[in-house]
C-alpha cells in the first residue's frame, strides 16, 4: 500500500475495469454492500461461480444493448450464440448430447442473473432450454442426437407451440390435428403467440392424434421450411421485444412419424412436464428483473433530492424499499425451493412450481412497478431501464400458464381426495 505520507489517490477496490473498460449503461449489476438481498447467499461455491459468470455476461453482453434490442425489436442471435458457447443453450440437458447437465437450481440461479441484463432475451433462452430438454428427455436416441447438439450450441433455435387462438388456459382443448397417413402425420391448425415463431428452426408442436381431451394429444417436432408451415405477422408487444412473436400456421404440413416425441397420447404430459421447469425459469427471470429494480431504486433514492434531503431520508420510501427487499428475498427462496423439489422429484414439485410462478411473477412485478414509482417522472422515460423491466415482466403473470391457472393447480392439489 502507501509509503510514508498521506494516501493521495482514490482507491477503487472493485471497479468495472476489465473487458476493456466497457461502460455499463444500466448499472443494475452492482454487487456492492446491499448484502441482505445478495443473490449469492446460500449457494454452493460452484453455484456462485456460475452466478458470477452469468452476472458478468449479463452486464457486459446484454445490459448495454437491452434498450436498443427493445426499441428496434432485434432478436440478438449473435449474443445468444455467445451465451450458448458458455453452456447456456442446454443448461439442464445431458452432457452426452452437448448439454451442461446442471440442476434446476443451478438453472434458476443462472436465469436470475442473466435476466438483470435483459429479461426478454433471457426469457427466450429459457424457452429454448425448455424445448431442448423436452427432446432430450422424451426423444429417442436418433431424435436426441439429431436435435440436441445443435440446440445446445444454438446453431438452431427452438419454439414451444401449445397455445391456439381457441385454447389458452384450456390447453387440453386444442384443435390442431395430426392425421396419420402411412408413415407421416399431416398437421392442420394454428398456434398463437409463439415466441421466436418465424425466426426459429425447430418447432415442438402439441397436436391431436387421438380423441378429445389431454389423452388424445401428441408432441411432434416440425422443422422450419417444411412445406405447409407458415407464420402470421410479427406481433407488436408491450415488452419482450427482443423476441419475435408470431402465429404458427400448419396447412397440410407433413412430418414423418419419426418426428413424434414419445408415444401417441403422451404429448400433453410432455408439454406439462416441460412447463413445470418453464415456470421456475420464468419466475427466475422475474426475480432478476426485481433484483435489478431494487438496486436501481436504492441508487435513485440516494441521489435524488427533494425538500432539502435525499429521498433516502424519507421514512415512507425507506419502508417501501424494505418491503420490496423482503418480498424479493421471499420470492427467491420460494423459486429455489421449487427448483430443488423438481430436481429431487418430490411429490410437491408440481404444486410448488405453480406456487412459485404465481407468487414470484406477481410480487416481482409489484417490486419493479414500485421501483418505477420511486423514480418519479424519470421512471416513465425510456432513458431509464426501470420501465423496460416493468414492461418485460408483465407478461410473466400471463404466459406459461396464467396466474389464474396456477391457482387452479394449487386448489386442485389442496382439495383432491388424496390431499
Amino acid at each position: 500500500m502507501a509509503a510514508v505520507g498521506t494516501f493521495s489517490r482514490v482507491v477503487r477496490l472493485s471497479s468495472c475495469f476489465g473487458r476493456r473498460c466497457r461502460l455499463i449503461s444500466n448499472s443494475a449489476q452492482r454487487r456492492g454492500i446491499a448484502s441482505c438481498i445478495d443473490p449469492a447467499h446460500g449457494l454452493s461455491d460452484e453455484q456462485k461461480e456460475f452466478q458470477k459468470m452469468a452476472f458478468d455476461f449479463a452486464a457486459n453482453e446484454m445490459s448495454p444493448h437491452m434498450a436498443e434490442w427493445d426499441e428496434k425489436e432485434i432478436f440478438p442471435v449473435e449474443t445468444m450464440r455467445k451465451a450458448a458457447q458458455l453452456g447456456f443453450g442446454g443448461i439442464y440437458v445431458q452432457p452426452e448430447v452437448g448439454g451442461s447437465g446442471l440442476s434446476r437450481l443451478d438453472t434458476s440461479v443462472i436465469f436470475e442473473a442473466l435476466s438483470t441484463g435483459c429479461v426478454s432475451t433471457t426469457a427466450y433462452l429459457s424457452i429454448h432450454n425448455m424445448c431442448n430438454w423436452m427432446i432430450d428427455t422424451f426423444g429417442n436416441t436418433e431424435q436426441r442426437e439429431k436435435y440436441c447438439p445443435e440446440l445446445c450450441m444454438m446453431d438452431k433455435f427452438a419454439s414451444y407451440c401449445l397455445t391456439e387462438p381457441g385454447s389458452g388456459s384450456d390447453a387440453a382443448s386444442l384443435l390442431t390435428t395430426a392425421k396419420l397417413e402411412g408413415d407421416h402425420y399431416v398437421l392442420n391448425g394454428s398456434k398463437a403467440f409463439i415466441s421466436g415463431g418465424g425466426d426459429t428452426d425447430v418447432y415442438i408442436v402439441m397436436c391431436r392424434t387421438g380423441g378429445k381431451g389431454p389423452k388424445g394429444i401428441s408432441c411432434v417436432v416440425v422443422e422450419k421450411d417444411t412445406p405447409g408451415l407458415s407464420f402470421g405477422k410479427k406481433e407488436k408487444k408491450m415488452g419482450w421485444n427482443s423476441q419475435p412473436t408470431r402465429a404458427v400456421i400448419l396447412e397440410d404440413c407433413r412430418v414423418p412419424v419419426t418426428s413424434r416425441l414419445g408415444q401417441e397420447g403422451q404429448g400433453f404430459n410432455i408439454a406439462m412436464r416441460g412447463l413445470n421447469g418453464g415456470r421456475i425459469n420464468i419466475a427466475s427471470c422475474s426475480l432478476g428483473a426485481a433484483h435489478a429494480c431494487v438496486q436501481l431504486a436504492r441508487d435513485h433514492l440516494l441521489v435524488r433530492k427533494q425538500f432539502g434531503e435525499t429521498l433516502s431520508s424519507n421514512q415512507f420510501l425507506q419502508f417501501k424499499l424494505a418491503e420490496m427487499a423482503t418480498k424479493l428475498v421471499a420470492s427467491r427462496l420460494l423459486v429455489r425451493e421449487a427448483a430443488l423439489a423438481l430436481q429431487e422429484g418430490r411429490s410437491d414439485a408440481v404444486s410448488l412450481c405453480s406456487m412459485a410462478k404465481l407468487f414470484v411473477t406477481d410480487e416481482c412485478f409489484n417490486i419493479c412497478n414500485q421501483a418505477l414509482q420511486m423514480h418519479g417522472g424519470y421512471g416513465y422515460l425510456k432513458d431509464y431501464a426501470v420501465q423496460q423491466f416493468v414492461r418485460d415482466i408483465r407478461v410473466h403473470q400471463i404466459l406459461e400458464g396464467t396466474n389464474e391457472v396456477m391457482r387452479m393447480i394449487i386448489a386442485r392439489s389442496l382439495l383432491s381426495e388424496s390431499g
Binding site: 498521506t6 477503487r12 477496490l13 472493485s14 449489476q29 459468470m53 458458455l86
Partner: protein, 240 residues
C-alpha cells in the same frame, strides 16, 4: 461493481469488510494470455497462484475455470496480510518459480487496489530474469519471447530470453468468460496450500503505513476577468 470506498475510522487503511472482491482485471488478462499460450501448445502447464487469506481460493478457482491446470494458495492472513506488499509477494513468487521450475511468470501490470505496479519488476529482479512489462502483445519464438510494450512514447518491441517475467497491460487480450463445463471441471483441479515460511520467505514489511486519508474535498474555483488578474492571483498564492 462500483463500491464506495471508505477510510477506516482509525485512518489505518481502507474498509474491506463486506466488500465483494474479485480477480484483479489485469490478472484476468494475464490468466487469459497464459491459457491462450497453452491452447497454442507453446507452454505445457499453467499454474495459478494467489497470496492471501482463505477467500483467495475463490479467485484461484475462477482462474482454474478459465483454463489453468492447477492452483497454489500461499496462505497469508491477519497482520501479515495487512502488511503484505509487492516486496513480500515478489519473494514468494521468486521462491515458487524456482521450486516449480517455471519458464514464464505472467502477472497483471498492477493491482487496482494499491496501483503499486512493482510486483512484476521486483520478481524479475529477485530472480535475475529479464522482464517484459506493460505487454500489449506477446509472441513466443523458440526460447525467446517477443514483447510489444506500451510505453509513454508509444510502443516498444523487445526480445527477451526465457525464463522471463511478463506483466499484462489492458490491450493484451480480452479475457474469456469461464464456460459452465469448465467451471465444473475446475472443481476437480487441485489447489495446493502452503505458507510463506515453507518457501523460506520472511514476510516482515520494510514499509510502515503512518496514515490513510481521503483525498481533500475539491475546493471551489475562482473566476477571474483578465489575464492580469490571473497572474496577480497566481503570484498572491505563491504558485509563481
Amino acid at each position: 461493481e462500483n463500491t464506495k470506498i471508505r477510510v477506516k475510522p482509525d485512518h489505518s487503511g481502507v474498509v474491506t469488510d463486506g466488500v465483494k472482491h474479485s480477480m484483479n482485471p489485469f490478472c484476468e488478462i494475464a490468466v487469459e494470455e497464459a491459457v491462450k499460450l497453452k491452447e497454442k501448445k507453446l507452454i505445457k502447464e499453467v499454474v495459478a497462484v494467489s497470496c492471501g487469506p482463505t477467500q483467495v481460493t475463490e479467485t484461484i478457482r475462477t482462474a482454474l475455470a478459465m483454463g489453468c491446470d492447477r492452483g497454489i494458495h500461499v496462505e497469508v492472513s491477519g497482520k501479515d496480510y495487512e502488511a503484505m506488499g509487492p516486496l513480500q509477494i515478489s519473494k514468494i513468487f521468486a521462491a515458487l518459480a524456482k521450486k516449480e521450475e517455471a519458464s514464464l511468470i505472467i502477472l497483471g501490470k498492477q493491482a487496482i487496489d494499491d496501483d503499486c505496479n512493482q510486483t512484476g519488476q521486483m520478481t524479475a529482479a529477485l530472480l535475475d530474469w529479464p522482464q517484459g512489462t506493460f505487454a500489449s502483445e506477446v509472441t513466443i519464438d523458440g526460447e525467446k519471447v517477443k514483447v510489444v510494450r506500451e510505453i509513454d512514447g508509444g510502443l516498444e518491441t523487445i526480445k527477451i530470453s526465457m525464463p522471463a517475467v511478463l506483466t499484462a497491460d489492458l490491450r493484451l487480450n480480452t479475457p474469456r468468460y469461464a464456460t459452465l463445463p469448465n467451471i465444473m471441471k475446475a472443481k476437480k483441479k487441485k489447489i495446493a496450500n502452503m505458507k510463506p515460511a515453507d518457501l523460506g520467505v520472511d514476510m516482515v514489511s520494510r514499509v510502515e503505513v503512518l496514515r490513510v486519508d481521503e483525498p481533500p474535498t475539491r475546493l471551489a474555483g475562482v473566476k477571474v476577468e483578465t489575464v492580469d488578474d490571473l497572474v496577480a492571483k497566481l503570484r498572491a498564492n505563491g504558485t509563481i
